[in-house]
């Protein structure tokens, strides 16, 4: 079926048969989402991953940081489902616990950076003029910062912890969202319906956040899913450099770090494959859900 199609209601006919009051917009959106197979798959997978990671303390079989040098470097087996690492820690347990950190970092950093980006972008796009000039030049400047180097430096001052990591990732990750939102708002504010609500007496904030933003939702959702992916991967990268989540706390990122050594990469596949797979599944699921949401929130979309 087509992505967009216009179905005109037959006023005369339906009114005679006394139609039942149409479903609410939220119900209709859920109907559209449900008919999106990939999005539904993504939702199921991400739910499983979330349940597993939240329930980690209940279903892990060893504490994630418990050393057991006698059991080091073991292949997956009945006692260690995903095997053990070079100091004998259980990979299954570390993967579950690591997910908690990575997902929290990824999702919160993405949300914070999106909020910053939306606010800056919307204000710049809506007001234009010097407001726009100021915000966009500031954006340009932040964009020229070498992100990893700055995070590296600042992290050493502020100390290495998850909260700082989230803040740093989002403070240096909102610029593309801001640019995107600005461009969209710039064109949508010229639409006649915006003038129409202005003529009703609506204030600027109502116009921006109630009337314009819903029309930016499609590209914004795409941006948010990218931001989640990017934050998870950035956390992995920073952990890889040793400035991410401090050891011994596990995260998918710092677990991957072990693959830095060639013999682990070649002969210890079980040690890096689980976090890699979990990152992949999480990122893909979020992408699919984003796709589904975009269609579900578009009232013109027919599944």
């Amino acid at each position: 079926m087509s992505a967009h199609s216009t179905t005109v209601i037959d006023d005369e006919l339906t009114s005679e048969f006394g139609v039942i009051k149409a479903e609410s917009p939220a119900e209709k959106a859920w109907q559209r989402f449900r008919r999106h197979p990939l999005a539904l798959t993504g939702l199921i997978l991400i739910t499983i991953i979330l349940v597993l990671t939240i329930a980690a303390p209940l279903i892990d079989r060893y504490p994630p940081s418990q050393l057991a040098l006698a059991d080091k470097f073991q292949k997956p087996s009945a006692s260690h489902w995903f095997g053990t690492d070079r100091v004998g820690r259980d990979i299954w347990s570390r993967t579950l616990h690591g997910g908690r950190v990575s997902i929290v970092v990824g999702v919160s950093a993405a949300l914070v950076s999106t909020i910053i980006g939306v606010i800056f972008g919307a204000l710049a796009g809506y007001y234009g003029g010097w407001v726009d000039g100021l915000i966009m030049r500031f954006t340009d400047i932040v964009m020229t910062f070498p992100r990893v180097v700055i995070i590296l430096t600042v992290a050493t001052f502020l100390g290495q912890n998850i909260l700082n990591l989230i803040l740093l990732i989002s403070l240096f990750g909102w610029m593309s969202t801001a640019r995107l939102v600005r461009g969209q708002v710039l064109s949508i504010r010229e639409e006649q319906f915006v003038q129409a609500v202005r003529s009703l007496g609506a204030g600027d904030m109502t116009i921006i956040f109630r009337h314009i933003m819903p029309n930016v939702i499609a590209p914004l959702l795409a941006a948010v899913t990218f931001a989640v992916n990017e934050a998870i991967l950035l956390e992995a990268g920073l952990s890889f450099l040793g400035i991410g989540v401090p050891l011994p706390t596990p995260s998918w990122g710092n677990m991957l770090e072990t693959a830095r050594s060639l013999d682990v990469l070649q002969f210890g596949v079980w040690m890096w494959m689980p976090p890699a797979l979990f990152i992949l599944i999480t990122v893909l699921s979020i992408n699919f859900i984003g796709d589904g949401l975009r269609d579900a929130l578009d009232p013109r979309h027919i599944a």
Partner: protein, 684 residues
């Protein structure tokens, strides 16, 4: 004699994701050499697709010509090899398109675009092609043609561009010229120029032409034959006089009835009820039956064939009865199907003359200039004087019509009154309170009482919001009532404007154009305003829907005691709905008065020209009247002419007009009729 073009049973369909669109369902007609014909229909009637199919200009896929023959000079164009068909296009059959802004390539000079077809088809040298191009441009009345060949399309005005488009189409001396709504995008005075030009060209060159339009008035004194199309069928085909005087198809009749008569306004418009047909269903019955007032059982069982009825070809089972009634309202009323009696003919208007006592809106010396900035520091180098000194009053309960061509500042005036723009100078009073200079908060509060209806029913509704929240938005903004009382009010409003309140949770795209405009009207009425600015509220609607919306506005005004500023370029509709009319030209009001006195005795040469450019859907009257065709185009409002702004196009201009700016002066017998012209006396 063998006809030039004979179309037999042409069928064109589009295969889309949403199903098959039955665009053209077997149309047949023929055209002799040198004959002219109009194809009239609304959007979706298949008028353009039918003609584009002749030379296979429809996109394939999704389009597909399923059946039929197009015999042109003895061969079937539909079976021609692509290579041969290409030789027909542009040389033997050429086209003029609707939008002169987009049908010329903006990055090529017009000289290049003109000579292209000549070099392609006639194999003549570049110099010869240029010479021919200049001839053609002179033929279509483009001044200084030789020097302008190297100019780009943006250096010409809209009317000039359409002339260039016609010159291009004529370059190879085609046997058949097709105009696809060639004047729809143009202002009335420019439209009149182009219509005159076509008449002259046909006399001079003797080619046949087909003119596609949605406006029965435009073609009344231009063509010999008219075909009326509806839902992919030709429903009536007749000579132009016959068609206007003895229409035999209820749709033709409905179109004629829904256009206001410019000679009087006593009778209420009779709209065609319902909405345009859905082309996704294979037609098995008369496509017009659901909207037809004369419908009988037979109409719902079979598609009526196009048959000869005293000189017309008509596709209606009741053609003869309707033809015999000859547009007589009493006779027609007798034919109406009993079930549809309620909506029967000619209802007199309840036109309570508004007591003109209280001034609701007062505008003093209103100016709205838009700065033109250049360079790095954005220095102001000039200003577009969109509105340049307006004084007028709008009385409680009246409708003031504001007319003028595009760029005259009429929409800007509406927005400036509502304070959607910040006026450069002047004052606006609403209910004796000054709006200009009021605080932002006061203006927002005042918006409860003054609302706007917009032109484009598609762009003016937020596609992401339900109809309920769109209509209820102003209640929410002004904190009126709680959730449930607001919903109740929205449902009331929907019923008031003729929408089914059960559709409260639907989105705008689920409604047709006319229904969307009703949503826009309901939104404007939500807070019970006293004053509404209607900015071209019917310009984007189909002809048969326009009358519905105008009637609704008119009824609402009487029921709710509204005051309208009705902005439009369609003078006959403005006359119909307005009590007084103001005519604008280049940011100024040039004439203002009672609708009747303006139409009977226009005192400004510009008003006279505008009135004479109104298309009249009656070939006798259209050919009888004196057309004043204005020369040239509207000057730029960034640099208006000195003295009287109209003097550059005025036939009566004298020395004083170039020097002195005329002020509005009062004329007439006690009633207000003001005009800004130095020579107005001679028209009294």
């Amino acid at each position: 004699m063998e006809p030039l073009l004979e179309v037999r049973n042409l069928v064109t369909k589009f295969k889309t994701d949403a199903g098959i669109v039955y665009a053209v369902n077997g149309i047949s007609y023929s055209l002799a050499r040198g004959e002219s014909m109009a194809i009239v229909g609304e959007s979706g009637s298949g008028k353009s697709v039918g003609v584009l199919s002749l030379i296979k200009l429809i996109p394939v896929p999704p389009g597909r010509i399923d059946d039929g023959q197009v015999i042109f000079k003895g061969r079937d164009l539909l079976t021609l090899a692509p290579e041969q068909l290409r030789k027909v296009r542009g040389k033997e059959i050429s086209m003029v398109f609707q939008d002169p802004m987009t049908s010329l390539n903006p990055v090529l000079t017009i000289g290049l675009q003109l000579t292209e077809a000549l070099e392609e088809h006639e194999h003549i040298s570049r110099a010869a092609a240029r010479k021919r191009s200049v001839e053609m441009l002179e033929l279509v009345g483009l001044p200084d043609a030789e020097n302008r060949l190297n100019d780009y399309p943006h250096q010409f005005s809209g009317g000039q561009r359409q002339r260039i488009g016609i010159a291009m189409a004529l370059a190879c001396k085609p046997d058949l010229l097709i105009g696809d709504e060639p004047t729809t995008a143009l202002d009335v005075t420019i439209q009149a120029q182009i219509v005159e030009l076509m008449k002259e060209l046909q006399k001079e060159l003797g080619m046949a032409f087909i003119w596609i339009t949605h406006d029965l008035g435009v073609v009344a004194d231009l063509v010999e034959q008219v075909a009326v199309m509806y839902a992919g069928f030709i429903v009536e085909l007749a000579s132009v006089d016959d068609l206007y005087h003895r229409p035999g198809h209820p749709y033709t009749l409905g179109l004629l009835e829904s256009i206001p008569n410019i000679e009087g306004k006593e009778e209420r418009l009779i709209p065609i009820e319902g909405r345009p047909p859905d082309l996704h269903q294979e037609p098995r019955s008369c496509p017009f039956a659901p909207r037809c007032r004369y419908v009988i059982d037979r109409c719902r069982e079979a598609v009526p064939p196009l048959e000869e009825h005293s000189g017309h070809q008509i596709a209606c089972f009741r053609a003869e009865e309707i033809q015999d009634a000859q547009r007589d309202p009493v006779k027609l009323a007798a034919l109406v199907t009993p079930a549809k009696q309620a909506a029967k003919a000619a209802v007199a208007r309840s036109d309570a003359p508004s007591a003109r006592q209280k001034v609701l809106v007062k505008v003093e010396n209103l100016k709205q200039h838009f700065p033109i900035r250049r360079g790095i520091i954005q220095r102001q180098v000039g200003a577009v004087r969109a509105v340049d000194g307006l004084d007028f009053e709008i009385y409680q309960g009246e409708t003031l019509g504001l007319v003028g061509e595009s760029g005259c500042g009429k929409s800007t005036t509406g927005q400036a009154i509502l304070q959607l723009l910040k006026p450069t100078a002047g004052r606006v009073y609403f209910k004796d309170k000054e709006l200009t200079g009021a605080s932002k908060k006061d203006i927002r509060a005042a918006r409860r009482d003054m609302q706007m209806i917009f032109q484009d029913p598609y762009a003016s509704l937020n596609p992401r919001m339900t109809v309920g929240s769109i209509i209820g938005e102003s209640l929410r903004i002004h904190n009126i009532g709680d959730r449930s009382s607001r919903q109740e009010r929205v449902e009331q409003l929907m019923a008031l404007v003729g929408l089914n309140p059960n559709f409260i949770n639907r989105y705008p795209h689920e409604f047709s154009g006319g229904q969307r405009q009703r949503i826009g009207i309901a939104r404007a009425l939500a807070t019970n305003p006293a004053f509404i600015v209607a900015d071209e509220p019917i310009a984007a609607l189909d002809v048969s829907i326009q009358a519905q919306v105008v009637n609704l506005l008119d009824d609402l005004r009487h029921e709710m005691g509204l005051t309208y500023l009705f902005i439009a370029h369609d003078l006959s509709m403005v006359r119909y709905i307005s009590d007084r009319i103001a005519v604008m030209y280049l940011g100024r009001i040039v004439e203002l008065g009672e609708g009747d006195s303006i139409f009977v005795q226009p005192l400004h040469p510009y008003t006279q020209a505008l009135l004479s450019a109104i298309p009249i859907p009656d070939p006798d009257r259209a050919s009888r009247r004196q057309r004043i065709v204005l020369e040239g185009d509207v000057p730029s409002p960034a640099n208006p002419p000195s003295g009287c702004r109209f003097h550059t196009r005025c036939a009566y201009a004298t020395e004083i007009c170039r020097r002195e700016d005329p002020q509005l002066r009062s004329f007439g017998n006690g009633l207000q009729h003001v005009v800004a012209c130095h020579h107005a006396e001679q028209f009294v």
